[in-house]
């Protein structure tokens, strides 16, 4: 039994050792926050699928990136990455015709109507309505991933810009701000409604086509 008067171990330096270790791990650990561009892949279609509905060519905005990382828009114009966003906004926001039927706040279908929140050129040769406008991103197997992501980023950015603009005009706050607020108080239903409304006004329709071989 350790009844006898054991000399007490001096624990004074214990804290120092602990701190040393703490500092060591603080320095060596890297806290990488995971960020990225989220996408939802389309579901696999069965072989005997009927042909998808034909889309009017004017409602499709084709961005092609070839193996040399050159970017071709609508099959005719070469473009640098920084111009894509502007072009995409022009295309989505054109509002030259009648859109797909939308739903009102109660979930009832409304009659198909023109896009009265669009501020585009209303060019009949470009997209009819934001909910009909489809952006198709075509790539080659040899395209570099960096360019591919850069283009994707610009396309998503175009939608964010439009949503921000619409949100500012309607609710006085930008869409990004609304999202932030909604995250901070998840129970706020009116915020959710607003976000849903903005999303339905400018639905993000980006298709990633299978690459050319």
């Amino acid at each position: 039994m350790a009844r006898r008067d054991l000399p007490e171990i001096n624990a004074g330096s214990m804290a120092d050792i602990a701190f040393l270790l703490l500092i060591f791990f603080l320095v060596t650990t890297t806290m990488d926050v995971d960020t990225g561009i989220s996408r939802k892949l389309p579901e696999k279609q069965p072989e005997d699928m009927p042909d998808p509905p034909k889309l009017k060519e004017k409602n499709v905005f084709i961005v092609t990136v070839n193996r040399n990382n050159d970017i071709l828009v609508e099959g005719e114009t070469f473009m640098t990455i920084d111009k894509i966003r502007e072009e995409a906004i022009k295309f989505i926001d054109n509002g030259g015709g009648i859109g797909n039927p939308m739903k009102d706040a109660q979930g009832n279908s409304l009659d198909p109507a023109e896009c009265d929140w669009c501020q585009g050129a209303k060019d009949p040769a470009s997209s009819d309505h934001p909910n009909k406008a489809i952006i198709s991103l075509e790539s080659d197997r040899g395209t570099s991933y960096g360019t591919y992501i850069a283009v994707q980023n610009e396309l998503v950015g175009a939608y964010t810009d439009l949503r921000n603009r619409y949100s500012k005009e309607t609710y006085g706050l930008s869409y990004t701000q609304l999202l932030k607020d909604a995250k901070n108080n998840a129970s706020n239903e009116s915020l959710k409604e607003k976000i849903k409304d903005i999303k339905s006004k400018y639905p993000q329709i980006i298709s990633e086509a299978e690459p050319t071989k």
Partner: protein
Amino acid sequence: MSKFRKKKKGTPAISTASLPDIVFMLLFFFMVTTVMRETELKIKKPQLPKATEVKKLERKSLVSYIYVGKVDGQGGDKIQLNDRIADVKDVKYFIFAERETHPEDEIPLLTTSIKADVDSNVGTITDIKEELRNINALKINYSTLKGDVMDNVKKK
């Protein structure tokens, strides 16, 4: 009073001064183990592309990672799943294994994060995406850093 006297005679009280330190040590233990759980990279650390329109990945427990990058001395893009270099065909088994570890109701929420190097080919990524589509793992995330997109296309 006699009880008090007895105590004084008995064994000396154990010093609790080191108790916080022990707790600290435990804390370190957990800190270290969480780091070790992360997969060790067999490929060269992928240099992630940069983007501005990024979203934070919520609920990391629902995320599985696929790494794409180069291996020293070998050409072509390599895919790493867990701790080893794998083939595109192994992606589905990797996802199945991930699904095993989650309850049924969380499976549709599972996200696959693709951490690919800027210089990878889109072909490799498409192959992975095709595999994911085949097994209905539709939520994906292209892992990126925050930054200027023009950095992705600069010639080295």
